[in-house]
């Protein structure tokens, strides 16, 4: 930092010059427009806005507790994984047939590689001196299209997840899941035809007692006929129950007839 100057005097035997520089801010009056100094004028305003923002942020953390599901259990096959929301657009891409299976390289490397590569090299791909977005329609247009794509893929991933897996097992504490079966009968034993259906018992329980995610079915025959139950099994029941979990028509018929007898 210290320049070598024959006439300079130093502090002791150090290389720190003895001559002091006045500790004063320069004047910004010769800058164009209403320029102001960063320190302290602008920083003070910034700091006040940041303090308000920080309070808002703290309110968020207090009102929305960060989620914590059950302890990791590698044997839990029913848990539906979902990446953090900002990876969803990359994740959703891999669900399309043209970007998965044999074509997975397209989804994992080529499309994200081109997109992020182009973003990284944007200064050289869009090298003209024009800065206004409207006067460089190609760059702006590609960016807008990518944004639409990212928003759409993120939305599609969320939407698909909510439709197929309405309530993550042991998920958020504020879920709008129906209350667990009030009048579950501990003595009730479900028939083998029920316990054989893994997809049913994962939500409704081994003995139809219901869980946080699904109602008690021990007296479902009072509410629905066999035909109605078969319809529900095939098509699901909004908002939570997915349809098409059992593919075999005969199995659906038998199960529905059994369930209709439960009164």
């Amino acid at each position: 930092m210290a320049k070598h100057d024959k006439d300079a005097t130093f502090v002791g035997d150090s290389r720190v010059p003895a001559k002091r520089i006045p500790n004063v801010a320069p004047s910004y009056s010769d800058f164009p427009g209403k320029s102001e100094p960063f320190w302290p004028n602008f920083l003070l305003k910034e700091w006040m806005v940041a303090a308000v923002g920080l309070v808002g942020f703290l309110v968020l953390t207090v009102s929305h507790e960060s989620p914590l599901t059950a302890k990791a259990n590698p044997n839990d096959t029913s848990f539906v994984p979902l990446p953090d929301w900002y990876f969803l657009f990359l994740y959703q891409l891999l669900k399309y047939p043209w970007a998965s299976g044999d074509w997975v390289v397209l989804g994992t490397v080529i499309i994200p590689g081109i997109a992020f590569g182009a973003l990284l090299l944007a200064p050289w791909l869009d090298a003209g001196p024009e800065r206004r977005a409207i006067r460089r329609p190609i760059a702006s247009g590609i960016m807008l299209l990518s944004l639409v794509g990212i928003f759409y893929l993120t939305w599609a991933a969320m939407d698909e997840h909510h439709r197929n897996h309405p309530s993550p097992a042991g998920g958020g504490s504020h879920g709008a899941a129906p209350a667990p079966a009030e009048e579950a009968d501990p003595a009730f034993k479900a028939a083998d035809i029920w316990t054989a259906q893994q997809s049913c018992i994962s939500c409704h329980g081994n003995n139809m007692e219901g869980t946080a995610a699904a109602p008690n079915l021990q007296k479902v025959g009072e509410k629905y006929s066999a035909e109605e139950i078969a319809e529900i099994i095939k098509n699901g029941k909004p908002p939570l129950m997915p349809g098409g979990m059992i593919k075999d028509e005969q199995a659906i018929k038998e199960l529905a007839e059994y369930m209709a007898t439960l009164k």
Binding site: N23, S35, T61, V62, L120, R131
Partner: protein
């Protein structure tokens, strides 16, 4: 008194040039929301940094309780969340801040893109900014596993399976991150090390470069 202390240090270390270098830079009218409200779009970079500082501080406090091994990681997070005074706030800040920093960085990137601020002479700063973006995504990915709950475990498992499909380097990248055949004790230890040491070090270096460059060149002019 303060002035005397300052002078005492300044006489010995000549800190005034350094201090003036930090404090003196102009905030032009076109980026100052006090003069043009629409200039708030220029705030996203500063906000990203502000939240990054929150992330670093809250993360430092989290490591006081967090235990990076598969038997205790989950219990330690649960304890922190439910028993420790203000633990729920500290974890909440780190958890929500992680999302917020991505949002702010995304908006900052869009502002720089649509104002054409990445053009000559600021190309290098744009590249460094993109590298910061990737490091942040890496921090998000590695941090997601650390609570060792089902969400974390299965998301990471899927993420690593996706990484494996990358030709040539995929299997090596997966082996490097997993540290074995399964997502287990080694994986957690490695993700912890990457999340707490490797990526923050890279982040601080890149942020330093980002800020030195913006100070050298100044903020881009009005459109």
């Amino acid at each position: 008194m303060l002035q005397k202390m300052y002078d005492w240090v300044d006489e010995r270390l000549n800190i005034t040039p350094m201090w003036r270098d930090l404090a003196d830079h102009e905030v032009p009218e076109h980026v100052n929301p006090a003069h043009h409200f629409s200039a708030f779009v220029y705030c996203f970079g500063g906000l990203t940094f502000f939240i990054t500082v929150i992330q670093i501080l809250s993360g430092m406090f989290l490591t006081m309780y967090y235990v990076p091994d598969i038997n205790n990681a989950y219990e330690s997070v649960k304890y922190l969340q439910n028993e420790v005074a203000f633990g729920v706030i500290v974890r909440g800040m780190h958890h929500w801040g992680a999302s917020l920093v991505i949002v702010m960085m995304f908006l900052h990137t869009l502002r720089v893109f649509f104002t054409g601020s990445y053009k000559k002479p600021r190309e290098m700063n744009w590249v460094v900014g993109m590298l910061i973006f990737f490091v942040m995504l890496g921090l998000g990915f590695t941090g997601y596993l650390l609570p060792w709950d089902n969400t974390a475990y299965f998301a990471t498992k899927v993420g690593l399976e996706i990484a494996q499909t990358v030709p040539l380097i995929g299997p090596y990248a997966k082996a490097l991150l997993t540290g074995g055949d399964i997502v287990g004790a080694q994986t957690l230890a490695r993700f912890f090390a990457i999340h707490v040491f490797f990526l923050p070090a890279a982040l601080l270096g890149l942020l330093g470069a980002h800020f030195i460059m913006i100070r050298r060149q100044g903020i881009s002019g009005p459109l």
